[in-house]
């Protein structure tokens, strides 16, 4: 049995083990569809759907899947849900579907989903798997919205298509181009690293102070 509590399973996917920013999984969609917040949310929603459904299904059937073919089985399940997501999105939100283009089917090869099945859902009960999947999905969403927000605010001066700065804001066109995706994610990682360093430096200072006073 796992040594973590259910709530820990849920929370850890959100930030500490964030799939995009910490584990560096699922980079293809993270860079490709984050040129606006709307696209980022749509992709996150589709991925959330796929990861939760797959986790639940695989967790409930884990006894029946022989070990030799488990990767193939997981991929089949994930691919089916991706197909469903693709069809539903195309039917009910065709404009968004066109924007996301080929990247909806590419959810299938998002290492993050397969990783959760392999590492967690295949070994835990349904409720925990669902929590784990949901946490990971939320973490994915947070990462994508961060990137999408950054790129959209600078690249088109809007957030969710609401203009923020008035008509004379000079758009940073590069942000909505592919180069902007790389630079944005790189910048976010650098910022996170910088904050980490500051924290560490702060801890070291505190420890030194404690030593001096003791």
């Amino acid at each position: 049995m796992r040594s973590t509590t259910p709530s820990q399973d849920f929370i850890r996917g959100i930030w500490v083990e964030n799939p995009v920013l910490i584990q560096m999984l699922g980079l293809c969609p993270a860079l490709a569809v984050t040129n606006s917040v709307k696209n980022a949310l749509a992709m996150s929603a589709a991925t959330f759907f796929v990861i939760c459904c797959s986790s639940v299904l695989i967790s409930s059937c884990k006894r029946f899947i022989p070990s030799e073919v488990r990767i193939a089985a997981y991929i089949l399940v994930i691919a089916s849900f991706v197909t469903l997501a693709d069809m539903l999105l195309q039917a009910y939100s065709p404009v968004q579907h066109k924007e996301l283009g080929a990247f909806i089917p590419l959810i299938v090869v998002n290492c993050m989903i397969l990783g959760r099945q392999e590492a967690f859902s295949s070994k835990n009960n349904v409720l925990r798997s669902l929590l784990d999947a949901a946490g990971t999905g939320i973490g994915f969403t947070i990462a994508l919205v961060m990137m999408g927000g950054f790129r959209e605010i600078l690249g088109t001066g809007t957030f969710l298509e609401i203009p923020l700065f008035g008509p004379n804001f000079e758009h940073w066109v590069v942000m909505v181009l592919p180069a902007g995706g790389f630079l944005t994610l790189g910048f976010i990682l650098l910022a996170m690293g910088f904050i980490e360093e500051r924290k560490k430096a702060g801890k070291v200072e505190k420890a030194e102070k404690a030593e001096k006073s003791s």
Binding site: Q23, M24, I65, S67, V69, S80, G115, F169, H171
Partner: protein
């Protein structure tokens, strides 16, 4: 303990008078004539732009630089000056500052500082500015009435757009490439700098003098500029004599940023190859790329990109041209690095029984029959298939309906007045309503014939896609075969540059031209320069390529379809019109 009579120091014992700082400052000195000329030609605004770039670089170095005292070595100053010299007069100061800071941080500091960067920091800043503010950086304001006046809107509020001058002047390169009356600016003008252009590009003479000064002092590897000049001359000469390029070789050499780039950017000691042989490869690569981009690329200037791309190849060139040390084996390349992303994934994949190629003894497990394995997969597959089929039954009608609606909307938009349409396929050489038995619909080209309420033919709507500036542009247009005029145009798919190329569907004035009955084959003319002929279409300023793509698509489509249409079009609608377009 007696005082030591002999002074003991570690080697080296003979020091050259050179130091990094000295070299850097000598480069700054060599740039003084060019800077002076930029003020002479473009007014006091030039010095503000240069100072803004330097400020950005110096501030970045001060805040983020890893080595104390790194400000004094002059490298930040050079980056700032060089970046500024590539900018047009009238460039907003806040953008110049941003470019300087970006170039320093992401082109140098992040690689570890002086001596460790791969890309030329000034060019990194310039490339960023080009991508971020494409309109501002390709706007060269016309010469001001009086020398002391500021050109452009250099004091624009940070983060806000600069006011656009009504009158702009094309650079010699831009004029020859995109202009309506292309003239080759005289070499005399280019050499002495009495032309338009960016701040430091204009006077070839002063740049060459500066380069000569550095070469004589030994601070510049002359192999690089010479190889660049030779290769540009050779390649452009070749293409010019073959008639495929309008640029004479001398023009190529002296126009645009080639002089500045070849003498000051490409020769940056850190980002250029170590051996002379490598430098010649480097120079030839730059020359070739500059020629190709200038002749065929979408932008007027290619020096920046050519140098950056070759910078990326320098590690490769260095490895390839490494002289082999006598008596040693070729150096081993680098070490295997385990990176977090792969590690995470390998954790996924390397778990116990995944078919990892490394042979490990598989842990003992209960033998499962093959039948069991296949059965499980089949059951999962069947269940998945069932679920998918169910959802498909539900969603397919919705999707098809939407698609048909969009197509109908597009057809009616480009054939004003049409209320119904029929799809005709190209079978063999003529139009046919039906396809041969068991034919794949997607393999056949098609057109849509629109009819009005009185069931009279309105025109033919044709769809086509071709590569644009960024990616494929797809559009549909309406054509009246009897009067041989266009009826309308609608862009269906476009990934052109936001703010520039996307004007092909956002600029109403541009789109409206296609509804005014122009006569193909269409000819692109610069806005305002047309002669009012019926086949002229005004291009969008700043988006010439994208505009031309739209025109090309229509011309090519009609080239393809006119022979077929001339054979005769069914004038009356068939019995079953407005069928849902089969996909």
């Amino acid at each position: 303990m007696t005082d030591s009579i002999v002074r003991v120091t570690a080697s080296p014992h003979l020091r050259s008078t050179e130091s990094t700082t000295k070299i850097m400052w000598s480069v700054v000195i060599s740039l003084v004539p060019v800077v002076a000329s930029s003020i002479f030609f473009f007014g006091p605004g030039a010095i503000f732009i240069l100072l803004a770039c330097c400020a950005g670089c110096l501030l970045a170095e001060r805040c983020f630089g890893s080595r104390p005292g790194s400000l004094a070595d002059g490298s930040a100053m050079i980056t700032g000056l060089l970046l500024g010299l590539t900018l047009p007069p009238g460039f907003p100061l806040w953008m110049a500052f941003l470019g300087g800071a970006f170039g320093m941080v992401f082109g140098k500091i992040i690689f570890g500082g002086l001596g460790q960067n791969i890309f030329n920091p000034a060019l990194v800043g310039r490339a960023f500015l080009q991508a971020a503010f494409p309109v501002a950086i390709t706007t060269w304001p016309a010469k001001a009435e009086h020398w002391s006046m500021f050109q452009g809107d250099i004091f624009a509020i940070p983060l806000f757009s600069p006011a656009m001058d009504a009158v702009t002047e094309a650079t010699p390169l831009g004029n020859l490439k995109f202009g309506d009356d292309p003239t080759v600016t005289s070499i005399f003008d280019l050499f002495f700098g009495t032309t338009g252009g960016s701040l430091g590009e204009t006077s070839a003479l002063l740049l060459l003098l500066g380069g000569l000064y550095l070469a004589l002092r030994g601070h510049l590897n002359w192999h690089i500029p010479v190889s660049i000049f030779v290769s540009v001359f050779l390649f452009s000469g070749l293409f010019f004599t073959l008639g495929i390029s309008p640029f004479p070789p001398l023009f190529m050499l002296f126009s645009g940023g080639l002089m500045l780039g070849a003498i000051y950017m490409a020769t940056d000691m850190v980002t250029s190859p170590v051996t002379n042989r490598g430098c010649w490869i480097f120079g030839f690569g730059i020359g070739l790329l500059v020629t190709l981009i200038r002749i065929w690329g979408g932008l007027p200037e290619g020096v920046m990109y050519a140098i950056l791309l070759m910078n990326a190849m320098v590690p490769f060139i260095d490895r390839a041209t490494q002289p082999q040390l006598f008596g040693s084996a070729p150096k081993d390349g680098g070490k295997e690095g385990g990176k977090e992303g792969v590690r995470a994934m390998t954790d996924v994949v390397r778990s116990e029984e995944f078919p990892v190629p490394v042979s490990q003894p598989a842990p003992e497990q209960k033998k499962v029959s093959t039948f069991n394995l296949i059965a499980t997969l089949t059951i999962i597959g069947a269940l998945a298939g069932l679920l998918i089929v169910l959802v498909d039954q539900h969603t397919r009608p919705i999707i098809d309906k939407y698609r048909a609606e969009q197509l109908q909307k597009a057809v009616y938009e480009v054939l004003p007045g049409a209320t119904s349409y029929a799809t005709y396929y190209l079978v063999g050489n003529s139009l046919s309503l039906t396809l041969p038995q068991a034919a794949k619909v997607s393999e056949y080209k098609r057109v849509y014939i629109g009819y009005d309420a009185a069931l009279q033919i309105k025109g033919v709507a044709i769809e086509r896609g071709e590569p644009g500036f960024q990616d494929i542009v797809r559009l549909i247009f309406g054509y009246d075969p009897h009067t041989a005029t266009l009826l309308g145009m609608k862009v269906l798919e476009s990934k052109e540059t936001p703010g520039l190329g996307d004007k092909i569907f956002k600029d109403q004035a541009f789109v409206d031209q296609f509804f005014a009955g122009p006569q193909p084959p269409l000819v692109a003319v610069k806005a305002g320069a047309g002669k009012g002929r019926p086949n002229e279409i005004d291009t969008i300023t700043g988006a010439t390529i994208s505009s031309k793509v739209v025109i090309d698509i229509i011309n090519h489509a009609l080239q393809e379809w006119t022979p077929v249409l001339d054979q005769g079009i069914p004038l009356t609608p068939p019995a079953a019109v407005n069928d849902e377009a089969k996909q």
